[in-house]
Amino acid sequence: TASPFTSLPIREEMTTKYSNLSLESHNISVTEHSCVPVEKNITLERPSNIELICQFTASRDMNSVNVTWKKGDELLENYLINVTGSIVYAQYLFTIINSKQMGSYSCFFGEKKEQRGTFHFKVPKIHGKNKPLVNYVRDTTVLICKCQHCSPLNWTWYSSNGSVQVPIDVQMTDKYVINGTNANETRLKIMQLTEDNQGSYWCHAVFQLGESEERVELVVLSYLVPLKPFLGIVVEVVILVAIILLYETYTQKKKKHI
C-alpha cells in the first residue's frame, strides 16, 4: 500500500547523504480502545533509512489529537502528521547508521499511556547451544555459534572465569582454532580438553549497529565419572546370574531328593 505521505516532501538530507542505503518501512496500528501499548520488534543488521508510521483510529475529533514521537525519554522533532477521515497517520523518517540510533521509538496519541505504539530496534540474535556440551578429557570439541539470517562483520570468542570475560587468543597456543564455514556461523575448536577448560564460553557477533552475544557451556568429565555406575551395574549383573544359576541347582537338588 502506498504511504499516505508520498505527496509530502521528504527531507533533503536523506536523499543526498544516505541515498545508497535501503529504506525500511514499518507500520503500527493503535486504536482508541487499546488496553496495552502496541509494540513491534525490528531486527536490523546494517545501516538503513527508516520510515516509521503510526496509524491511530478513533471516533472523536481528530484535529484535537496531540501526536508526539519519543526515543526513550527524548522528544523527537521533524515528524509529519496526516489526518484522513477518522484516521491519524504519524510518520517519522530517520536514518540509523550506528548503535547510538538503535533503541525504542514511540509514537504517542494524547496523554493516555496506552495510546501509543513502540518500535524496538535490535541487532540480530545469535544462537549457540541451549544445553551444556558434555565432553571427556583428551577429546576435541567444537563450539558453534550461528546467526540465522544475518552476516556479522566479525566474530570473537571469550572464555569466562566467573563474571570476567577473557578473550581467546588464537595465536598464542594451537589449542584453540577459530574458523567458520560461512559468514553466519563461527566455530571454536578446542583440542586436548582438560578439566580446566570446563566453563562458559561467549561468542560475540559484531555488527555495524551493535554487538550480540551468546553463551555456550562446556563440561569436561573424566572417565571415572561414568565408570563408577558402570562397575556397580556390572557387579549387579554378576550377582543376578549367580542367583539364577544357584536357584536352579538348588531346585534340581530338591527334585532329586523327592
Binding site: 558434555v134 567444537v142 558402570f230
Partner: protein, 459 residues
Amino acid sequence: RRRGVFPLPQTAMTPKPAGPPDGGWGWAVAAAAFAVNGLSYGLLRSLGLALPDLAEHFDRSTQDTAWVSALALAVQQAASPVGSALSTRWGARPVVMVGGVLTSLGFVFSAFAGSLLHLYLGLGVLAGSGWALVFAPALGTLSRYFSRRRVLAVGLALTGNGASSLLLAPSLQFLLDTFGWRGALLLLGAVTLHLAPCGALLRPLALPGDPPAPPRGPFAALGLGLFARRAFSVFALGTALVGGGYFVPYVHLAPHALDRGLDGYGAALVVAVAAVGDAGARLISGWLADQGWVPLSRLLLVFAALTGLGLLAVGLVPLAGSQEGCWGALLAAAGAYGLSAGSYAPLVFGVLPGLVGVGGVVQATGLVMMLMSLGGLLGPPLSGFLRDETGDFTASFLACGSFILCGSVIYMGLPGALPSCRPAPGPAPPPPESRELLPVLPAALLSSGGPQSTRDTSC
C-alpha cells in the same frame, strides 16, 4: 494334558521327556524373552536419540551416522541363523549369555571411539552380532515352553520392544545430557549386560520331537534342511515379501506425516498411535490365536493382508478430504496399520511349531529373522528412492503395502490358511506338525475329527 510340570533331567527313571509345560518356568522364560526383546530391538530403536550428538561430535552428516543403526539392525537380522545354529548345537543358555557379553563389549568399545568407523565396528558389527546371538534363541526357547498359550506368550515377549522404547528413550536422553554420548554408551554397555541373566533364565528343555543328537556340520545346524518342507518354504517366501514392506513405517511414517503438513508434535502423535496400537495388538492377537477358534495360518494371512491394506490407506488417505479431515484420517490409518502389524508379529513366530515341529523352532526362528532382514534392507531404501523420485511418500507406502499384500497372497498356500472342502477325516490321522496348526485339543478328541469338521462346514 500335562501342565506346570518342571522339565526333569534325563535319568534312567524317566526315558521320555514331558511335553511343553505351558506355564511354570515358562513364564520366567517369557520374562527373559521380554527383556531380550527390549534390550535388543527396543534399545536399537532408541539409539537414534544419540545419533545427532555423534553427528555433531564427529562433524559428519545425519546420513553417515544413520548407518550405525542400520548396520546394527542388518547384522542382527542377517546373522540370526548363526545364533540359532549355535544354540541348536550348544543350547540357548550359553549362546544368549555370550551374546549379551558381546553386545556389552560392543557398546563399551564404542564409548571410546575416535572416529565414526569405530562406531560402525563397535555398535554395528560387534553389538549387532551379540544381538544376533540372543533374539532367535530366546524366542525359540519360549515357543518350546508353551503350546496352548504359545502365541500369547510370544506376544507378551514382543511387547518388550515397545515397553523398552518408552523406558529407554527418556533415560537415554538423561544419560546423554548428564554423561555425554561417551558416558551414555558406556552405561548402555552395562545395561545390555543384563542380557546375560536373561540367558541364564533360559533353562534347557527336553521335548518329544527333539532330534536325538545335536546336528553335525554347520549346514545341518543352520537348519537349511527345513526349506525342504513345502509349508516352511511357502511361509519363508511370504515372510520375505512381507519384510519388504514391514519395516518401512518404522523409518518413514514420521517423515510422511511431516510431508502431509503436520507439525512435529502431530507427526509424533501419528507414530505414537501406531506404536501403541502395535503393542496392544500383540497381546490381544496372542490371546486370540491361542483360543484356537481360527487356525493360526489363517490368522497370519488375515493380519498380513490387513497390514498391507492399512499401509495402502496411510499412503492414499490424504489425497481425499480437507486439511482437518486429513489429520484425523491419517491418525485412523496409522492406528489401523499399528493394530494389524501388531497382530501379525506374534503369529510369525506362533505358526513355526506347526510348520517345522517344536524341534526345529529355534532354527526356523533364526531363518525367519534372516529372511525378514532381506526385506528390511531393501524396503526403506526403495521407499526413500520412490520418495525422491515422486516427491512424496504416497508411492512408497503403496509399494510397501503391495509387498505385504503379495506376501499374504503367498500365505494362502499354507496348510490351514484357506478353508478346505475335504470331507471330515480327510488326512487321517493328522501328522504331529499340523496338529499345532489346528486348534489344540486333547489327543482323544482330535482323532475323531472334531475341529476338522467345524472347518468343513464353513466350506
